[in-house]
């Protein structure tokens, strides 16, 4: 088992090294011809209105982002249940079914509440 994770680590090191190597290779063999306007951000050829784009931007999915965190966590709880479902269903089907579907029911109630409140809409 440990060998499996070791293999992933080795693969990670090699693929990172390859990515960095490609970037360095590009820097080494590409020509460098400086141009005064080379470092200018792309803006259709007109002077920039403001130099930075790191300003406050009105993004419209703030509530969806919060819901993503919640629901992704819930998905993480559902996964272990899904793995053992087939084995425990043979022993005690009613238990494993009600156990998780109470959990999912609460989740779905929250989902319906969010929908009714309009959190799923692009605000």
């Amino acid at each position: 088992m440990g060998e499996g994770y070791l293999a992933i680590l080795v693969f990670f090191v090699i693929s990172t090294a390859l990515g960095i190597g490609l970037l360095i290779l590009n820097r080494l063999i590409a020509p460098k011809i400086p141009d005064p306007l080379e470092g200018y951000p792309y803006e259709c050829g007109v002077p920039l209105y403001d130099k930075t784009s790191w300003t406050s931007i009105d993004q419209k999915y703030y509530l969806l982002g919060l819901l993503l965190v919640l629901f992704d966590l819930e998905a993480a709880f559902v996964f272990p249940w899904a793995v053992v479902f087939k084995y425990i269903a043979k022993i005690n089907a009613a238990f494993i079914f009600t156990e998780m579907f109470l959990f999912l029911l609460i989740l779905i109630l929250g989902y319906v509440y969010a929908w009714k409140k309009g959190a799923l809409k692009w605000q």
Partner: protein, 336 residues
């Protein structure tokens, strides 16, 4: 000493896998360009080599010899990190994808996969999600309006499909009873053993998620050419730029097609009509069918608006996955 030998062995295998993936990805660009050309009734690449066969090599050389420009106002470290963040996790999914059963050649056991950990599916999901951050970082680090909007849009798409993808995979996991991708394939014996017959809803949601994650057309809002110039990679040039399409359009699409084959089409299971190599031939055949299907979708459909994508994901796909979990649980209990 033994550990060193194991590491060197794995290292050599990893290098073979990565180089193979690179060559494959290079020629997948040619496949896509030819396909796109014929969809739009033009020949596609034609002049470099016979019918453009050397075009990928010419492209790679061109990308490598382009000047490596870093614009003045960018966050320099994040700017470089972003292209690595897109590339490395995308190719990392390859580490957990099995291409077949272990075989014995000359008394030596060869495994056609890097690693078969018992959380393979979860790792694949995690790497897939991390590679999206490369796009978002690229948008932020560029410090320019168009990439910024592209990155924010990609974040919105991520928020949309991520939850649906997680819940969609619960169905196949319930049927197989394991996270190991190799054992999921083993659970699908025979033609009617493939999970596509039991999980059509999950498959639809999974296809939606692949298209959204790899940024292909119905959901390619992050680089909508007509609105955002080139989207999140407007300020990129040279190899920094080259890694983005390589990672997103080719490596990610390829390995996620492999995931779709493993989860829904029975992996390398198939009639033994090609002799000893038939598992590999079946796997590659199915994989390329899924890949070509994705290309077909890409080059025929128009694109959704970003708010439509999140609304489809949350209001259609997510209830479908809940329904799928209920149906699957019922079927497993009834069948016993």
């Amino acid at each position: 000493m033994e550990l060193l030998a194991v590491i060197i062995g794995i290292g050599i295998k990893s290098i073979i896998f990565i180089i193979g993936m690179f060559l494959l990805a290079a020629y997948l660009t040619l496949v896509e360009r030819k396909f796109a050309g014929h969809v739009q009734q033009r020949p596609g690449p034609l002049h470099v080599g016979f019918h453009g066969l050397l075009q990928p090599i010419a492209d790679a050389l061109k990308v490598l010899t382009k000047e490596d420009i870093v614009p003045n106002f960018v966050d320099k470290y994040l700017f470089y990190l972003a292209s690595l963040m897109a590339f490395v996790p995308a190719i990392m999914i390859l580490a957990v994808i099995p291409f077949g059963e272990p075989i014995t050649i000359f008394g030596y056991e060869v495994k056609p996969y890097i690693s078969d950990v018992n959380v393979g599916l979860i790792l694949a999901l995690a790497f897939g999600s991390i590679s999206i951050y490369g796009v978002i970082f690229a948008g932020w680090a560029s410090n320019s309006k168009y990439p910024m909007i592209g990155g924010l849009r990609k974040a919105a798409v991520l928020i949309g499909y991520e939850v649906a993808l997680g819940f969609a995979l619960v169905g196949p996991i319930m049927l197989a009873g394991t996270f190991s991708l190799r054992e999921i394939v083993e659970a699908q014996q025979g033609f009617f053993g493939a999970f596509i017959w039991y999980q059509p809803l999950a498959f639809v949601v999974f296809l939606f998620s692949i298209l959204a994650e790899t940024g292909r057309t119905p959901f390619d809002v992050q680089e909508a050419e007509a609105e955002l110039v080139a989207g999140y990679n407007t300020e990129y040039s040279g190899m920094k730029f080259g890694l983005f399409p390589l990672a997103e359009w080719y490596i990610a699409t390829f390995v996620l097609s492999a995931m779709a084959v493993i989860l829904f089409f029975g992996g390398w299971n198939g009639p033994h009509i090609f002799g000893a190599v038939s598992p590999y031939i079946w796997f590659m055949l199915k994989l390329f069918l899924v890949f070509m299907f994705l290309l077909w979708v890409h080059w025929t459909l128009p694109r959704y608006r970003v708010d439509q994508i999140t609304e489809i994901a949350w209001k259609v796909m997510l209830p479908l996955t809940f329904l799928n979990i209920f149906i699957t649980a019922g079927i497993i209990i009834i069948k016993g």
